[in-house]
Chain length 139, copies 2
């Protein structure tokens, strides 16, 4: 286990003004987690700052410009080849309309309190359960 290389990935809970958050569904052709809902974001390239990586990935995947607001948690997935560590940030869109890339085939804005009920990539389930529990009710 200790011999596998580590990869850092940055994900975002992108919240709109109504407190809903954006999920994207992985294409049926995805190598991993095909058809599962995912948080936008992705791998930090070598030498790239994590905030730059997050903004780049989100723009590529959703067409949205975002601002980063806070730090929400971390997660991990272990594959046969590597260990991926996820840093999960909170943010909000600042410009653009959702326009998916070929990596995803659907998107949805879900109420934060419902995040634990979604068929999310397994590595984010513990985070989603804790996040949904802590989410404020309707104001």
């Amino acid at each position: 286990m200790s011999g596998k290389p580590f990869t850092l990935s940055v994900k975002v809970v992108l919240r709109d003004a109504r407190g809903r958050c954006l999920l994207v569904r992985r294409s049926s052709l995805s190598k991993n987690n095909a058809g599962k809902w995912d948080l936008p974001g992705g791998k930090v390239d070598a030498g790239e700052n994590f905030d730059v990586a997050l903004k780049r990935e989100v723009a590529e995947e959703t067409g949205l410009d975002i601002s980063i607001d806070d730090v929400l948690g971390a997660a991990e997935s272990v594959t046969p080849a590597k260990r991926v560590v996820y840093l999960i940030l909170g943010g909000h869109p600042t410009a653009g309309e959702v326009r998916l890339s070929s990596e995803h085939d659907a998107h949805v804005w879900v109420d934060s309190r419902a995040l634990a009920e979604v068929d999310l990539c397994g590595q984010f389930r513990p985070f989603a359960v804790a996040y949904a529990k802590a989410a404020p009710g309707p104001s």
Copy 2:
């Protein structure tokens, strides 16, 4: 707030065979959090992988070689100049004896369940409270 540069720092909860974890006390000359207890670890340099950065920082600060075991959480601190995001990993020492650098003036192995009672750097308190609560009791 959004204009401040982000920095990534990696910290470790370094556990011994008895489930205690290592804390180091920041020197009285430290610019920030002087005299507070801290988790070993530090800043990821430009272009450096986070696991390499963690092992380097821990070796510099404590003289210990470590192995990384799991992903425990994240934290944040905002200073006038920047926003530091912390990735908090779990690990264990594999070689060496504790030998502090001039950055720290004391070290202690504390029971994980007592982590919330320590005068820790403020940014790690929410993590410490959650971690202590989840820590197993004596076996």
